[in-house]
């Protein structure tokens, strides 16, 4: 009411009697009709906002970040090396000099665990990356081309899948020797298959979608349709699969090292350390606990990150 009274005071006539000619239409710019209250978010920003809500996944990410930093810097600044023996301090318990104690040759376990982290994490991430590249391209091509090509390529995948991993590993080790690259090769040969299958299934259904056909009708090349329209739309499962591939590769490497195939001594991976500690398990159980704890915590945190990502990337799970 106050405004109407003010109007009368200013203009000398009541608000209801203002002649129509005094009004004019607002232009589109002035109307602000399409004012967007919420900023338009990119896909990445949206995913990150969702991911942050999952405390466990966020904590895991922080843990993994610290582990990576430690794996890089601890061996650089530590007075001990992974193979430096100190026979005066064998099988020592935790102390200020040796936070995790020493093993049966007097080597510092803390430094060895950090060296192990270098190997385990690089095997994990490298395997995941190779897996990503090979699996996505192979699966994408299979799904997109389809027909007979798809049939033949997928039967090859089935055959690869049916041969036990251990068999590849032993064969590859025989040919290329025991080193980190043959471990990596062995893990990749058996694991990209899962990714290829998943991407193929996604692409197979996406290519029937109208936006892919619209791109075809517009004259987009096959490569353009495959990468810019199809694969980008199955990034969610691809990212989750890649993240979960890392712990799988770390576990496989540790397992291979534990059964005695894999990188050779005196190099340390978590698996070889656990294997070394086995003979003294009854006397010095802590020597086993440290590497196993490192494996478990890394695997757990990577799984939590994977879960967090799969929730954040899938709009149906919000």
């Amino acid at each position: 009411m106050a405004d109407i009274n003010k109007c009368e005071a200013v203009l000398g006539i009541p608000a209801s009697e203002i002649p129509e000619e005094w009004f004019e239409r607002l232009s589109d710019e002035e109307k602000d009709s399409e004012f967007v209250a919420m900023q338009s978010k990119t896909y990445f920003q949206d995913t990150w906002a969702q991911f942050k809500k999952n405390r466990l996944a966020l904590a895991s990410l922080v843990f993994l970040f610290i582990l990576i930093l430690a794996a890089i810097f601890v061996p650089m600044f530590s007075p001990y090396t992974y193979d430096g023996q100190d026979l005066m301090h064998r099988n020592a318990g935790s102390s200020w000099q040796h936070p995790f104690g020493t093993d049966k040759f007097g080597r510092d376990i803390f430094v060895r665990v950090m060296y192990g982290a270098r190997i385990s994490l690089s095997v994990g991430f490298a395997a995941a990356l190779l897996n990503l590249i090979i699996g996505v391209v192979y699966g994408g091509v299979c799904g997109y081309i389809g027909g007979r090509t798809d049939l033949i390529l997928m039967r090859i995948v089935d055959i690869l899948y049916s041969v036990p991993t251990l068999l590849y590993v032993i064969l590859i080790m025989l040919i290329f020797g025991s080193n980190i690259f043959s471990v990596l090769l062995a893990i990749c040969v058996s694991s990209w298959v899962g990714m290829a299958r998943q991407v193929r299934a996604q692409v197979l259904s996406l290519k029937e979608q109208e936006f892919a056909q619209a791109a075809f009708v517009l004259g987009a090349s096959r490569t353009r349709i495959l990468f810019k329209h199809l694969i980008i739309n199955c990034m969610g499962p691809i990212i989750v699969n890649t993240t979960l591939m890392v712990p799988e590769a770390i576990f496989t490497e540790a397992f291979l090292a534990f059964v005695g195939i894999g990188i050779s001594i005196p190099m340390a991976s978590w698996g070889t350390m656990a294997n070394d500690a086995r003979s003294l398990l009854m006397l010095y159980p802590m020597q086993m606990v440290w590497p196993v704890m490192a494996i478990s915590l890394t695997m757990l945190s990577l799984h939590f990150i994977g879960d967090g990502l799969s929730d954040a990337l899938d709009p149906r799970k919000r």
Binding site: Q213, V217, L218, S221, M235
Partner: protein, 326 residues
């Protein structure tokens, strides 16, 4: 046939192989069966028929999503069924398509700006970024959207707005022929009218020919110059839009028209409804002779033979009993 038509489709067959597994007997779906018609430049040809009658397959065959088994599609006198390389690339600028589902026809990971500039990237039009931006703005204005929408993603728009974006995308390459594959059937009735009017206005400004596919014969009559009626892969009647609408000759067209709801209940009560018996036959196992003979009230011995398309006045009808009333 004279060569003066802009689009000339003759004896087109589209067949899908739906055989399951390697060892099962071959199963073929004859989705489009010996269809011939023509479209003039700047004209709208409406194609109606119930779901599964092959009208979308026909549209998709023209743009090359499906490969026709046999027959010719000539646009500007050039056969477009066997194009490749450079000439195929040029053909893509001539003929474009608007899809049915506005929620599926835009890539959810691209902004509107990216969606609209993609055709220009593909065809190397407006090479500088500034010129592209200007063109995108112009396209958005043409379809009644605001230029500040370019940074948004498709999920931020309503169905009608998305269909406008689809239309803008097809216009990006300046086509002369657009296939509209049920562009309005996924939209609200009020929005349908807006999109139809937009399409009409664009046609008037740019002299674009449309092949307008729909199952709503009323809407098709509103937008089309001529109408074709399809049943089970066959074109059964073609004619000028009001002729087909007000004086249908084929018994199937008559049945289709009698099924349109009428808003006036008194008129609605007095008119005669033609109720078709039975289901549409499976295209896997079509009836011999006239495809409509299994449901046609006029069917007799003569219908065991396939009827030929014949001229009746301004119509072309494929029926043995054109002059009998239902």
């Amino acid at each position: 046939m004279n060569g003066g038509h802009y689009v000339e489709i003759s004896h087109l067959d589209v067949i899908y192989d739906v055989t399951k597994g390697v060892f099962s007997p071959k199963q073929l779906v004859h989705a489009v069966n010996d269809v011939s018609f023509t479209i003039e430049a700047g004209e709208t040809f409406g194609l109606v028929g119930e779901s599964g009658c092959g009208k979308s397959s026909l549209g998709r065959a023209i743009v090359g999503i499906n490969k026709p088994r046999s027959g010719d599609i000539r646009i500007n006198g050039q056969d477009v069924t066997h194009l490749h390389g450079r000439s195929l690339h040029d053909f893509r600028r001539e003929v474009q398509m608007i899809f049915q589902d506005p929620y599926a026809s835009l890539n959810p990971r691209m902004t509107i700006g990216e969606i609209l500039s993609e055709p220009m990237v593909i065809h190397g039009l407006h090479r500088s970024p500034g010129a592209r931006e200007e063109r995108v703005t112009e396209l958005l204005r043409t379809v009644g959207l605001k230029p500040d929408h370019v940074r948004r993603y498709p999920h931020e728009f309503s169905g009608g707005q998305r269909q406008r974006i689809s239309i803008a995308r097809t216009l990006a390459v300046n086509p002369r022929f657009i296939i509209c594959d049920e562009p309005i059937s996924a939209l609200d009735v009020s929005i349908q009218a807006q999109i139809i009017n937009l399409l009409k206005q664009i046609q008037k400004e740019r002299n674009i020919a449309y092949l307008f596919i729909a199952h709503d014969i009323g809407m098709v009559k509103h937008i089309s110059d001529r109408i074709g009626v399809m049943y089970l892969g066959h074109l059964v009647e073609v004619g000028d839009s009001s002729e087909v609408y007000f004086h249908p000759l084929h018994p199937y067209t008559k049945a289709l028209l009698s099924a349109i709801p009428i808003s006036d209940p008194d008129v609605g009560k007095s008119r005669k409804r033609i109720i078709l018996e039975g289901e549409i036959p499976s295209p896997l196992n079509p009836p011999a002779g006239c495809p409509f003979s299994t449901r046609c009230p006029l069917a007799d011995e003569a219908c065991r033979r396939m009827p030929k398309m014949q001229q009746f006045g301004s119509h072309q009808v494929a029926c043995h009993h054109v002059n009998q009333s239902v």
